[in-house]
């Protein structure tokens, strides 16, 4: 973990949380001060307080997708709401590009939201009295951009999310998936560089959810935002995340890449999630390869270091010789043995931490 954090610190952290607490209840602040930062949620519960977020520190690096995953009541949405300051954290510091947002006044906050942040909500949060186009144009209009320009920009967003021809529909006339496309378009209309998504696909049917996840990855491929994504669905987290923070009872249990979480769950709680995960769908070649030794005789097959194992498994298992692993420049960076791959996929926890 420590090496992980160090390496993350070197890259540019867009969002940084330092010991963030959110405790609901009347005298939360004084209780927290007395407890000196060590919060026992049971003791607080007896005092009539509910601990939402408990001493969370994390960084979100520029351009990454950080998924906060947890079951209901784990405090994941509360954490997101603290970071977007829809609720005020009880204690701690939250920086967005170095600015402490907890000390911002209302006006600064409005400015920040108008220019830097976009957010997508679980139940869409569309304005029922406005059409698709008007909903998307709303953040622009609020900023004071002229109707002509905001409509033009909103139309671009309509195209981006593929809702052409429905711009004059009302939200009630759209399916759930379409409504969430509107929500996504609206959150992107002001071209924010920070994108919050609070369980955006949880209210959708499984097939639509899959489609929307693909859509999301496509958009991120084009846009490259810094993303904080909240979900209760572990598979969704594995599919989308660069890094995952698993939360329970307001505490971050583990913060790591999907592969490392699957291979080396930090706690019993995390391990339960990883048990049924098909590893070949999560792990990448990087986490099962061996270092290159000079004596190696490679076969003809070369696999990219970032490929998901599932996508190359069939070819690897057909090889008798070790397979060369190459990076994006075509240099050989590792060796893959079919037997070792099998062992990692179906054996115990013999994988090793993935290095960035």
């Amino acid at each position: 973990m420590s090496s992980q954090e160090e390496s993350a610190g070197k890259k540019q952290a867009i969002i940084r949380c330092e010991s963030v607490y959110k405790i609901f209840g009347n005298n939360a602040k004084s209780m927290l001060r007395e407890s000196d930062g060590i919060v026992d949620s049971k003791r607080f519960m007896e005092a009539g307080l509910i601990v939402g977020v408990n001493d969370v520190s994390l960084d979100v690096i520029k351009g990454e997708i950080l998924v906060i995953m947890g079951l209901s009541g784990s405090g994941k949405s509360t954490l997101l709401r603290c970071i977007s300051r829809l609720t005020d954290a009880t204690s701690g510091r939250i920086f967005i590009e170095g600015q402490d947002i907890l000390t911002m006044n209302h006006k600064q906050l409005v400015e920040l939201r108008r220019n830097r942040m976009g957010m997508v909500f679980q139940n869409f949060g569309l304005l029922p009295h406005k059409t698709v186009l008007e909903n998307i144009a709303f953040p622009l209009q609020v900023k004071g951009i002229s109707t002509r320009n905001s409509v033009q920009r909103a139309m671009e967003m309509v195209h981006l999310v593929g809702l052409e021809g429905r711009e004059n529909y009302f939200p009630r006339e759209l399916s759930g998936g379409q409504q969430q496309r509107v929500g996504i378009a609206r959150s992107l209309a002001v071209e924010p560089d920070i994108w919050f998504l609070d369980e955006p696909f949880s209210a959708l049917d499984p097939l639509i959810r899959k489609e929307m996840q693909d859509e999301f990855l496509r958009l991120q491929g084009v846009l490259g935002k810094t993303i904080l994504f909240v979900t209760h669905d572990f598979d969704e987290a594995l599919r989308l995340a660069d890094r995952i923070a698993i939360m329970k009872d307001g505490v971050v249990e583990q913060l790591d890449t999907p592969s490392n979480i699957v291979l080396n769950p930090a706690t019993e709680y995390v391990r339960k999630f990883t048990e049924d995960v098909p590893r070949e769908k999560v792990l990448r070649v990087r986490s099962v390869m061996e270092p290159v030794t000079a004596t190696e005789v490679f076969g003809d097959l070369k696999v990219p270091v970032d490929a998901v194992i599932e996508s190359v498994a069939e070819k690897i298992l057909g090889q008798e010789k070790p397979v060369a692993v190459v990076n994006s420049n075509g240099e050989v960076v590792g060796t893959l043995y079919a037997s070792h791959v099998l062992k990692v996929l179906f054996g115990g926890k013999s994988g090793k931490p993935e290095q960035h």
Binding site: L86, H106, K107, G118, M119, P139
Partner: protein
Amino acid sequence: MTFLTKYSKVAQFAVLLAVFFLLCLLISPSESSYLWRLPPLLKQLPAIINESVDYLMFDWWPVQVYDPIIEDYEEEALFREFTRAISGFFLFVINFIREIFLGGNKTVVAFTSWDFINQNPWVRWPALPWTVITGWAIILGYRLQGLRLAILIAVCTTFIAVFGQWKPSMETLSFILIAAPVSVILGLTLGIWAYKSRVVEETLNPLLNIAQTMPHYSYLVPVIVLFGVGDHAAAIATIVFATPPMVRLTLLGLKKVPVDVVDSGMMSGCNKFQLMLRVLIPTARRDILIGVNQTVMQCLAMTVIASFIGAQGLGSNLMIALNSLRVGIGIEIGLCIVLIAVVLDKLSLAWANKQTDYFANLTFVQRNRYTLLALVVFLVGTALAWIGTFLFKEGFNYLYIVPHNKGITTAPFWQAAVDWVWDTFFYSLNSFNEFLITAVLVPMKNMYLRMPVVATFVLMMGIGYILAGIRQSLIIGGFLLFIALSEYWDRALITAYMASFAVVVSTVLGVIIGTLCAQNSVASKGILLICDFLQTFPSFIYLIPVIMLFGITDTSVIIAAIVYATVPATRYTVEGLRSVPQVLHDTGSMLGVSRMQRWLSIELPLAFPHIMLGVNQTAVFALFMVIIGAFIGTTDLGQLILKAISDPQGTGIGLTLGLCVAFMGLAVDQIIRTWANERKKALDMN
């Protein structure tokens, strides 16, 4: 013992009743016994209220005011100047709107002087021809909903014009058109404020409760004292009465806005004003506009009563007609009030259901076609009116303004009908009337009056305790104590007897009608429509037919109250039974229950809390009608309130009496609402 634990509530009630009757038997009527009647400790309350109002009006915070007549400064009380300014404002606006409809010169006077008018008698604001107003109303209806509403409006307005009620109708409308918007703005502001601040919400809540259960009459006296008599006073009384539902629905609507929508508004970068005006209010639009609808309906309900303090228009004409027992004219006027109510109700509901327009590429003509159409109507109407001056030589231009009572009238027909009913059924009606009075009402009244005050307290607080808990029981005790300590306990008992008789009958009728109609969906829809329709009638209208049948007696009042109060009982029964989930019906059917069994053991228990809410409404409605019934002669609190209107010391008396009635209503409301809500929660029927 098992019986006691299983039916503990039944047992408690049995004990309570036993104690109650024991107390009734043991305590004999004697003026000196405090167990029989409490001493009127609050006797001074009306006088105190009067003195404080007088002080407020004449002595408090003197300011120097310039008087142009004596050309010097005079000392006046600030508050009085304030109320005068408000009165002046309202009077001006009402006259202004009235003159747009009917023409006149008062608006011109407001800017110049009577001298100017006397010198220039030609100065006069011309009235809009009735054809133009009708046309505009039709266009509005078409625009808001479509052809059906347009036709309905056309029929209603034409009816009003043709029957010669155009002038009083417009007078009534002009005062609604000021009272309703002011109530709406006031209600919206208070509602938003209550949404923003919990303290405000908690302060407003009891005030709204009292305002909504105080009988209409009792507003009138203080308004007379503060604002004088006339259209403006009527408008102010109406505003006080019509604002509470707007506040409530605004608050309700704002609270119902989903968290996600509020959050998304904030994340879109709204500041506080943008959030309120562009996110919260538009999203809560439906509830808020239903509030507007209710406010308009309340305003109409006040038109008749407001005529007591000088509102001109249909209301005062109706009063005159009823006072002189000209039922035929009364029916006609009543019909016009109902028609205006129906039109305004449909228009405001259509507005509530209409979606706003969106950005679209429309041409100038497309965007403004209704305005253009309205302009055309105006020109055509004016031209017609001008042509009319040549057509009608005898002095009445029917294409301009149909003169009052010069249209077609059906009054003789109605009068004949009434006479026929009287001639044909006089004996049967009269014997029914007599039977009801001697065999039911008088004994019941005597029984109520025979109750010692202690027994009443035990009964009411006991019911409160059993159904709603100790806290509610104490609140009810407080309400009753106020009435018991005022001078009006006996009168209150008479009011209670009439209201409770009406409630019992209405509830039985309502539950039976409701249950029968709830058996099938067409009938349910039908009966709910009828209920909607009946609820648009201002309460006073119900008195017309019963006077026609039973003359001026307690029976008339009680029957009017029964008819009026059956509406909510029926509506809530239907709603309650229809909201029983289909799956439970299916379960019942698969278990092989009969229709009756299903009703008794599945539907009724589940719908019962909702039906009780209906009974609650029934009680409030019955109480209102009984008080209004004072107008045709009863001997309860209502009569005293009515008297207070013409009493120079009436403010205190009127308010105290009003509070007595309000507290009676609230006591019932407290018990039933608390019980029903808890029960609903327990049954998971919300």
